[in-house]
């Protein structure tokens, strides 16, 4: 699916990924994890890659294979360098009344693998969740 770069469409993205993951018979707890990870990833693209400007687009695809589910996000905004990211410190956040960086932390904790790459002017983020023996 392709959405305009506005938080208004996050709900639609969550619904899209939920349906795909359920149809591939992932457990409800994994569905919840995918839902929030894709929400956080899209939110970061909207706020940081596109600086909150709503006239751009984000392309979201769910690729299901025998052993895993991959959510692939593509945008043409500013690229994200995961090497510049440091884990958030909650107590510091409360003191400074800010809360940036929590989204990346959530994504890293919930996904089995997260990859960022940039080719030409296209940034790609891949959120990977492997099937476990119970799914």
């Amino acid at each position: 699916m392709t959405i305009p770069s506005s938080t208004r469409y996050l709900e639609d993205v969550r619904e899209f990924v939920t349906k795909k993951a359920r149809s591939a018979e992932f457990s409800e707890s994994v569905v919840e994890q995918l839902k929030i990870a894709v929400d956080e990833a899209c939110t970061n693209v909207i706020k940081h890659a596109y600086d909150g400007e709503g006239e751009h687009v984000i392309d979201i695809a769910v690729i299901i294979s025998r052993d895993k589910l991959v959510v692939r996000l593509r945008d043409r905004g500013r690229s994200f360098d995961p090497n510049t990211y440091s884990e958030p410190n909650l107590i510091q956040f409360a003191k400074s009344r800010k809360a940036g960086g929590l989204g990346v932390h959530i994504i890293n904790r919930l996904m089995d693998r997260v990859e960022y790459r940039t080719q030409g002017d296209v940034n790609e983020c891949r959120l990977v969740k492997y099937r476990t023996g119970t799914e």
């Binding site: 996050l10 709900e11 969550r14 706020k47 909650l90 009344r97 929590l102 932390h105 904790r109 919930l110």
Partner: protein, 115 residues
Amino acid sequence: MSNFSVGFRNNGNIQILDLKGELDAHTASELEAAIQKCQGGSSFRIIINGSSLAYISSAGLGVFMAYIEEIREKGGDIKIAALQSKVFNVFDLLGFPMLFDIMESEDEAIAKFNE
């Protein structure tokens, strides 16, 4: 159409906010407005009742982070109660139980304020 809403109730001098629906980067501003409304009415003892909150992302959690110090400086607190387990998991993932009182029920949160 937003699928998130905030209801306001009182219990003595405690302001209770009933969150309903899905709290994400789009709807977080509604929670922010609700907390600002409490502050405007000089209500700094706030309970968030999450029994009807179906979803939260870091944008929602960020609102609590943004206001907690200010509210505590005024002698108040934000206590969080009755979260569904899938929503609690997100709070837990980010270490919120270290910073906030998160109670099983609204009654427990009220009792904690009245200690």
